[in-house]
Amino acid sequence: MSEIMAKTEEIVKKGKALGADEVIATTAFAEYRQSRFSNNQIDIGVAWNDYTTDVLLTWKKRVVATQIRNFENVATTMEKLFKLAKASQENPLYGGVAQGKFKYAKPMADEAVRDVRDPSEYINEAIEAAKKHIGKNIDSGGILFTKYEQIFLVSSEGPEGMDERSAIELSIRAFAARDESGHGVECNSSLKGFKPARAGEKAGEIAKMAKNPKPGKTGKYDIIFEPLFFGSMLGHYGPMGSAFNVMTKMSVFIDKLGHRVAPEIVTICDNPGKYSVNNRVFDDEGVPVKETVFIDKGVLKTYFHNTSTAKIFKTQTTGHAGIVQPHPWSLEMNAGDMSRDEMFKEVKRGLYLTNTWYTRFQNFTTGDFSTIPRDGALWIENGEIKESWKAIRLSDNIQNLFASIAGVSKERLHVHWWGEAEPPSLSPYVLARNIQITRPE
């Protein structure tokens, strides 16, 4: 592997020799595997291998980038890139990349993930677990996904490191009948502790509760969010903390540093730790990643920064580069003190929403949005599930949603699903009061 590092370093040296101010080269050898299933059968097995080197080059505050494949035509590509920098324009706000040598944590990738070549046993395990709740007439679909990435980063400004990242994910949506469904996910960085049956059980349990759904009613209700649903909300809320999104007004956090944005029971961090499917030891500038407290007891503590945005905001990088756009890697909402049962007892008239999709905003500065609950949407009266609903929409404001949080569970789940619960998160059950639900008229 030192050969790959040496080739990556050659790219950096070539850029510097041409006259570049800064060069970062990141070589990734990646193996991804996926099995997609529906109607309880595997539709397709997919394998894709990627061998790429991403190159960032700056010259007189001009930022250009390219990708080199298989270390081919390095000299020509770098010359073209340098020419592009000369044709480009200065960005006076560009504040450079990280400088100096860093010590990194030891990568904890699990090589066993690479050897999962026949995924059907995991898929069958999940389907069988769902069947325990909804019987043999189950219809189910989903994916089993594995990734194994080897990353080699060399920066002309000092950082140099190697990372190995692994993940295995199973997502299953189980149907007891056409409109009675539940969704579960199992996400892990390692094969050890990966239990696909947990996802199947969750999907089956929810599908069973979703029996005979009736069209829901418009109103303001207390809502208990399943971790998969709330992971999706975190996935929209957290990235708004990127300094880039604050600068481009695609955020509800403009001018809110140090201000209360949620009640005291809400603490949200970013932490691409060992367990996360988005685990890593350094960011795209080679800055070591760490736990970053984003919202502390309801107060906004920081934006997510790379070196350049940190300079604009007169602070330090938080290890969230993206060279152009800093972003959170893997969000964590701190556990609360409630059990799920206690949370249900708190609800006189409300809903337990288990999953959602198609979240869209009217205006990112105000946070007005709607999202469409899918799978089990369960009506609660006096702490008990009374019936199943369908055809509803959560139509509210994301600032209001987080400000209305009245309960956070002790239990948390690591969730990541398709484009909806993205980036991954460690999400609890959450109780929010007085949230607007609408339906078609």
């Binding site: 099995s35 397709i44 097995g45 291998n49 929409r393 484009g419």
Partner: protein, 474 residues
């Protein structure tokens, strides 16, 4: 692109016990320019190049790809695809609908080659757009523009004898987060998409400086003069952008045969149309004025293609015809299951993604009314010319659109802007309420999301003005 590697993949795949095999190479020159608040934030130029193999063996499908152009890697890719196909171990064996082999080459002409426009000129033109936006008498506090060129060469071969190559250039511009503040209130154009298949001539035709400046004026006027309406049943006129998104979301998507058969059940969802369900081919879904077509062959459209990614010749598909569910979007796999033929709807976004059933350019067929006639009979209503937030449930029945540019209509005349009017309705209610359709069709580009991992694919959406009689607007 090394065609001999692709040919080798096919020959090697054919040496195995397969029912079908195909191999494809994709080379794309990508150019990205990002202008943020008037400054050039980043400029990226990349050549993305790789190949894939898809194999049907023992009734299972396997797909593998790589960007390492060696014979050894090609062999490995074929072996992986073959193994994955066999691992599927399906009870219900996958079959492909019969098709004849095609040998052809199709290239999209650029009237003005984008390769001949210098990087400096492209930056200059984007800065001119930015300047036009900032010269409006409005407090524009943020704006971002992303320009992209994609020059794509493809080479496709399959075990039935098809050999197809093509060259497809595309241009895209996306304004993002154009934000106007007035009196402490904010209005925003979250996203807009300009897309074209062809050359630099698109940039001239779009007149971005005028169009995005107009968007700023609309937001400014809304902030100054916007007047909320009282929720009630009224007539709603939808502009081409709103008609187009409704065609895409509540006709195009539910008519994708892979959804109908459940293959997307865990991700993009299913459809309100399904075997033995309440809706099928022949069911009434809208008024007889509603004919919605998906047509990949519209010259220079963003979703343009002549052969799909299974080598099937493209043609217009009449999805809803005179208000009746008429024809699904099919690939070879879904067509075999439903006892029909593919209609060329199989698309993938790159070499590393499997081709799945997709739309191309989905629009409502024009009617015979003038725009004046559409409005003149309305005593009280709303004109929703464009939309901001929108979404639809995963069976494509419960949807809502919120107006970005919208006006009150009184006695046939447009009055004050209406801030974010909402229609939240069902597919059947929406299309059944259509009682008037204008003559002129306009298109708006978009990136359609589907697949896992996601494949945002270029599409156009569009239509004429349509009038919905007596729908609830709030």
């Amino acid at each position: 692109m090394e065609k001999d590697i692709v040919d080798y993949c096919l020959e090697y795949a054919k040496s195995k016990k397969t029912e079908y095999a195909e191999a494809k190479a994709v080379d794309t020159d990508v150019e990205n320019i990002m202008l943020k608040n008037g400054l050039l934030d980043a400029f990226a130029v990349t050549t993305d190049s790789g190949f894939n193999v898809r194999i049907l063996a023992e009734g299972g499908l396997g797909f593998a790809s790589s960007n390492k152009w060696t014979k050894q890697e090609a062999k490995h890719v074929v072996d992986m695809a073959y193994k994955m196909a066999k691992n599927a171990n399906r009870k219900d064996k996958i079959k492909f609908a019969e098709e004849k082999a095609v040998k052809t080459k199709w290239d999209v002409e650029q009237k003005k080659k984008v390769e001949n426009v210098s990087s400096e000129d492209k930056i200059k033109r984007l800065l001119e757009v930015d300047k036009a936006v900032m010269s409006q008498k409005a407090n524009v506090v943020s704006r971002m523009f992303i320009y992209t060129t994609l020059l794509t060469k493809e080479y496709f071969v399959n075990s039935e004898g098809s050999v197809i190559s093509c060259f497809v250039p595309k241009l895209e511009v996306m304004p993002i987060g154009v934000t106007v503040v007035e009196g402490g209130k904010t209005e925003q154009l979250p996203y807009k998409w300009y897309g074209y298949t062809g050359g630099w001539e698109a940039f001239e035709a779009w007149k971005l400086d005028e169009d995005i400046a107009r968007e700023v004026q609309v937001l400014q006027r809304l902030l100054k003069e916007g007047k909320a309406i009282k929720p009630s049943k009224m007539d709603l006129v939808c502009g081409p952008e709103v008609t187009g998104i409704a065609c895409h979301e509540s006709c195009g998507h539910p008519m994708e045969a892979d959804r109908i058969l459940g293959r997307e059940m865990s991700q993009a969802g299913r459809s309100f149309i399904y075997p033995d369900g309440p809706y099928w081919i022949g069911s009434q879904i809208g008024s007889d004025l509603v004919t919605i077509i998906d047509d990949p062959t519209i010259a220079n459209s963003y979703g343009y293609y002549l052969y799909d990614d299974e080598g099937i010749k493209a043609r217009p598909r009449y999805l809803y015809k005179n208000g009746v569910i008429n024809e699904f979007l099919q690939n070879r796999e879904t067509a075999a299951k439903l006892g029909t033929r593919s209609n060329g709807a199989s698309r993938s976004v790159n070499y590393d993604r499997e081709a799945i059933v997709r739309m191309a350019n989905t629009y409502l067929q024009p009617g015979d009314m003038s725009e004046k006639e559409i409005f003149e009979d309305i005593k009280h209503g709303v004109f929703m010319n464009s939309f901001t937030e929108w979404n639809i449930d995963d069976v494509r029945f419960n949807q809502r659109y919120i107006g970005r540019e919208a006006y009150l209509i009184e006695n046939g005349e447009l009055k004050a802007p209406v801030p974010r009017p909402i229609i939240e309705t069902t597919t059947k209610t929406f299309w059944t309420a259509v009682d008037a359709v204008s003559k002129k069709v306009e298109f708006v580009s978009a990136s359609c999301g589907k697949g896992d991992p996601g494949q945002g694919i270029p599409v156009d959406t569009g239509g004429p003005l349509i009038r919905l009689k007596g729908v609830h607007v709030r």
